[in-house]
């Protein structure tokens, strides 16, 4: 009976202030939603990387590969089998069907260990047609749709095959890739016979590679997901600010109730227990709502994320979200955890509250003022840490730690700075009213500081990310102009057609530039090796970051190479270093060029040297230089004379557009998260102002009694809110610029391998400042309306009240 009465007394508070309840639930569910939404996107992507990494048991089984990373003769496979090695050959490579590029994985179903089995061949006929010409390509449904109508071997659909990939018999792969009797690697079965000849005696050119649990995709995209996680975390922290202030307020306002309950015989334990139960209930409700909302956010983000991952890394992530049960647990868990963290201080106070303690908000506020000193020290410490990490640390995690330390330091420093500013203003003030204005603002600061911190974080993130994205866009667009110098890019369908195209084009255009490339391992990582023609196009345009004086002559001579920034930064190379290319070809590094948007290492060598060292290199792609006005006519002629499909002739503008689209998509996710974070900060501000307006009656009533109209009181309140919002915005600027610097100079370098120059965009800041003032205005609107409509009797009541 007593429990029920106690619970009723506690809950009645929410009935009287439904808005506060709404704030609490909203804050909590928003925080949970952003967090779990981002986690969902990450989980979805990771699951698909794991699938890719698990292709043919690569994550579980050892592999034998050639030391130089190249394909090798299947005789090596036979020799190993006959020496007692249970290995199974795989030949991988990209094949073109029409204009569609498909990654072929050729397997030997007879020797493939059960652990590496990818697709089921469930009948005699399946196996016979798979192994005998023309073979069967096992593909996903989407890939089958892309290939329909093209000249391919018969297709079979399996859901276990990654997108744009086909599993074929190794003999078919050798045929389709033009690599007769070649294999790219051998899978080592987990169970080997009792005796076998040592590997070195049979196949000295092969090395044994341990299983790769992570896979290339997971490694490449790590940084991208860390980025998302950091944003999710930021949003969650901002959301917790709301929860913290809502809970703090609710407890503060219920002090009289607590006191009464305790006086009536409730033990501190029982009271805390009841409050805890109440909070847990809210956390559960908000957690579930948050997960549902998070699902919505994730479904919204996923198509863009999937497009980015495909465009940037070639990773195949389904654009449709699959619901995982683990989310519900994680989402609700984080909501409960967040609530408990936010409520810990308040609960502790209730637990230790003296039985007859008076309700004393002012004293609490004073205590907060003294806490400012500690806060200032903590902020200084964090800034010190930021500087130290930025100076001595390295790695992506350190990059994000720098961000976290800087943002937290800035958030903690904000109330300190504002307090100092306000007391300075107070000293400058003339006349009692302005003196009161500044003094009262200071008095309000502790109550508002949390939401101001949230606002600061959101604004700084906005400034920082905005600056980073805009700097990137500016650099990227300029770089595209340099890099895509040729007016038209042509892909032939066969080597024979390529040869005819060259002859046909030569008299008609200014230059035909081969874009021939091969792939292989360079310094232990997958790399692209491009051949570059000795032509002014490159000398004049190619975006070199560093180079030796006669770089292009050296490249053309065949004894030097230029490498992309990613390879240069990742491996700490410098000009003049010797680089070993697949097959043992030694070259010197003569230049470094920027290569945005490419996750892989890239090397450029003279085209003659390329075809000399790699005679099998594909000679299908060309850049064509000509008067831009003649491009449409040339396209038409090519279509007529060669029946070349339009997809095989792409003009510069189209490529630029595609690149920019990928770029925009990459940052679309960031932008959405940014807006959401700002929204959460707005809600936090609103919650705080709502709270304060309720508490402020005792402060405002005497002024009203002294003759100020309610109208001028409202104006004063509004002015205060605006002053604080503008000050916060001003404080956010340097923090945001710092953030942008960390993103550009540390995080991007670690994550993508390139460093970008920073550009500043004051116009954007002005717009953001306007937005934040507007947000503050909206946040202040309801509390002010309430003040404006306050009945004089309510103001009078203050004097009749216990206080």
């Amino acid at each position: 009976m007593m429990w029920r009465a106690g619970l009723q007394a506690l809950l009645s508070h929410w009935k009287r202030s439904p808005l506060q309840l709404a704030m609490l639930l909203l804050g909590l569910s928003l925080a949970t939603a952003l967090w779990s939404g981002v986690q969902a996107v990450n989980a979805q992507a990771r699951a698909s990387y794991d699938r890719a990494a698990a292709t043919l048991g690569r994550d579980r089984l050892d592999q034998l590969v050639a030391a130089d990373g190249n394909v090798f003769s299947q005789e090596v496979f036979v020799d190993l089998r006959r020496a007692g090695w249970l290995v199974s050959p795989v030949l991988e490579g990209d094949a073109r069907f029409g204009t569609t590029r498909i990654h072929l994985i050729g397997i030997d179903p007879l020797t493939l260990p059960a652990e590496a089995q990818q697709v089921e061949l469930s009948s005699n006929d399946d196996l016979i047609s798979f192994m005998t010409p023309p073979g069967v390509m096992i593909v996903s449904e989407a890939t089958a749709a892309r290939l329909s109508g093209l000249d391919t071997p018969p297709l079979r659909i399996s859901k276990d095959v990654p997108a744009d990939t086909a599993i074929v018999d190794i003999s078919a792969a050798q045929r389709l890739l033009g690599k007769p009797e070649q294999v790219s690697r051998l899978i080592v079965a987990p169970e080997q016979p009792l005796s076998q000849t040592p590997l070195a005696d049979v196949a000295g050119t092969l090395v044994r590679k341990a299983p790769d649990g992570e896979g290339d995709l997971a490694r490449l995209t790590d940084s991208f997901h860390l980025n998302l996680t950091a944003f999710g975390m930021l949003a969650f922290v901002v959301g917790l600010f709301i929860v913290y202030s809502a809970i703090g307020l609710a407890f503060e306002q219920r002090r009289p109730v607590f006191r009464t309950l305790r006086s009536l015989g409730f033990s501190a334990k029982a009271l805390t227990g009841l409050l805890l139960a109440e909070l847990l209930f809210f956390a559960l409700v908000a957690g579930v709502a948050g997960v549902v909302l998070g699902y919505g956010i994730a479904s919204l983000l996923l198509p863009d994320v999937a497009a980015t991952l495909r465009g940037l890394y070639g990773a195949d992530v389904p654009g449709v979200l699959s619901l995982r049960p683990s989310w519900w647990a994680a989402g609700v868990g984080i909501a409960v955890g967040g609530t408990l963290v936010s409520a810990a201080q308040s609960l502790w106070r209730v637990w230790h509250m003296p039985l007859l303690a008076p309700a004393q908000p002012r004293a609490w506020a004073r205590a907060s003022e003294s806490a400012l000193r500690i806060q200032a020290l903590a902020a200084l410490g964090l800034f010190g840490l930021t500087a130290a990490l930025a100076h001595w640390g390295s790695g992506l995690v350190v990059g994000f730690s720098v961000l976290a330390a800087m943002l937290m330091g800035a958030a903690l420093a904000l109330p300190v700075l504002l307090a100092i500013l306000l007391s300075l203003m107070q000293k400058q003030a003339r006349g009692p009213l302005s003196f009161w204005f500044w003094a009262d603002s200071r008095q309000q600061l502790p109550g508002l500081s949390l939401s101001l911190m949230a606002l600061l974080l959101a604004l700084a993130a906005n400034v920082g990310v905005g600056t980073m994205v805009s700097s990137f866009r500016l650099t990227f667009t300029g770089w595209l102009d340099q890099r895509l110098a040729a007016e038209l890019y042509i892909t032939a369908r066969t080597e024979d057609e390529a040869a005819r195209l060259r002859t046909w084009l030569n008299p008609r255009v200014e230059a035909v530039l081969p874009i021939w490339n091969t792939e292989g391992d360079v310094r232990g990582q997958p790399a692209q090796i491009y051949g570059v023609a000795n032509h002014a196009t490159y000398r004049n345009n190619w975006p070199l970051l560093q180079s030796v004086p006669d770089v292009w002559d050296r490249v053309a001579s065949g004894n030097s190479a230029i490498i992309n920034e990613q390879l240069y930064r990742r491996d700490g190379l410098k000009l003049g270093d010797t680089l070993t290319l697949p097959g043992g070809w030694q070259t010197q590094i003569a230049g470094i060029y920027s290569d945005y948007g490419n996750p892989l290492a890239q090397v450029m060598v003279g085209v003659d040297a390329l075809s000399q060292h790699y005679p099998e290199v594909s000679r299908l792609r060309y850049g064509v230089r000509l008067n831009p006005a003649k491009v449409p006519a040339l396209r038409e002629d090519l279509g007529r004379d060669f029946d070349l499909p339009p997809q095989n002739m792409v003009d510069q503008a189209a490529i630029k557009q595609t690149s920019l689209d990928i770029f925009e998509k990459t940052f679309a996710v960031t932008a959405v998260l940014n807006v959401l974070t700002l929204g959460v900060a707005g809600v936090a501000m609103f919650a705080s102002l709502m709270t304060l307006s309720g508490m402020r009656l005792p402060q405002v009533a005497p002024l009203w009694a002294m003759g100020l109209t309610r109208r001028s009181l409202v104006w004063l309140e509004l002015a205060r809110t605006m002053v604080l919002a503008v000050l916060t915005m001003v404080a956010a600027l340097p923090v945001g610029i710092g953030l942008a610097w960390v993103l550009l100079a540390i995080v991007n370098v670690e994550a993508f391998g390139w460093r970008l120059p920073m550009h500043l965009f004051p116009a954007d800041w002005a717009r953001l400042g306007g937005l934040s003032v507007l947000a503050a205005l909206f946040a202040a609107l309801i509390p002010l309306r309430r003040l404006a409509r306050l009945a004089p009797t309510d103001l009078l009541k203050v004097f009749a009240n216990e206080r």
């Binding site: 299947q74 005789e75 496979f77 036979v78 089998r81 006959r82 020496a83 007692g84 249970l86 030997d108 179903p109 007879l110 020797t111 493939l112 059960a114 089995q117 089921e120 061949l121 469930s122 009948s123 005699n124 399946d126 196996l127 016979i128 192994m131 005998t132 003999s171 009797e181 169970e191 080997q192 016979p193 009792l194 005796s195 076998q196």
Partner: protein, 355 residues
Amino acid sequence: MNVRRILLSLVLMLYAPVAMAQGFAGLGTAAEGFAVPKPGTVFQFPADHGAHPDYRIEWWYLTANLTGSDGKPYGVQWTLFRSALKPGETDPQIWMGHAALTAQVQHFVAERLARGGIGQAGVSTGVKTQPFLAWIDDWAMTSTVTDNTADTLSKLSLSASGKDFRYDLKLDAKGPIVLQGQGGYSVKSAAGQASNYYSQPFYTVEGTLTLPQGPVSVTGQAWLDREWSSQPLAENQTGWDWFSLHMDSGEKLMGFRLRDGGEGYTSATWIAADGTPTPLPPGALKVTPLNTAKVGERTIPVEWRVDVPSRNFSITTKALNTQSWMATSFPYWEGPINFTGSHSGRGYLEMTGYR
């Protein structure tokens, strides 16, 4: 893995319970374009020791009854199967190896698969320095004959290995090659399905077995079966019980029963100690299960009475190891046996199609 199951069913198509569409279509249909055994064919050796890619399936099937230096009995099986995926093309052919080593309480099995044409497995004959070689991976049956006039299979070395066993044996034939059925034409059903079939049952053996507990040197006798064909079993045939028996008297008996739910179809060849074969008419051989053993979930007859009344032959067989289960992708029972009764000796028993 399903692929293996399919392959085995391909290889065993002739005798396995695979319901084939053509059923009893038999001889005239030329088995979907593959060559078909014909009565009256005279084998040409050593060429016929090699592969017959025109036929759908073929095997080199060797079993050995051995005694170790530790006094214990052992059994060894070495089998290479060939199966053609399509008629008319020499490749792709699929090769499959089964190896087993049986002791009283242990039974080790290994299985290998390979495609033909790349050198991973095959059978080569007629090379001067290497007159006969059948191999898959590191397993090999190699002719060690140096004398031009001798049959190339008369001296062999044999090896195979698995995760936990290995064997290396030398074989020496003390008798001639034996043609089964009518001059090598062995009928498999009342409807006339048949195979080409000959044996070399007169090997003496010596060599080494490597077991988890260490090497054991062994001696004993071995039996090689060579068979090739293209036609499947009749639709109602569900499996078989196959005996190869070395009698202490030096005589041999090959006999099998193809089960069809009723009487079954039995066939046998009585081989005199000098190698002279006498094909027995269908039904002359009677086999009766006496006792069963549980092998996993299956109930397998491991004790048999084998009667050939016309030869006053009546024996009871006992398995050396009742758990001689070939846990390959298409599992069957195959292991060494002893027999007593009117005659005594040892041999091998193979049983398929028990559930």
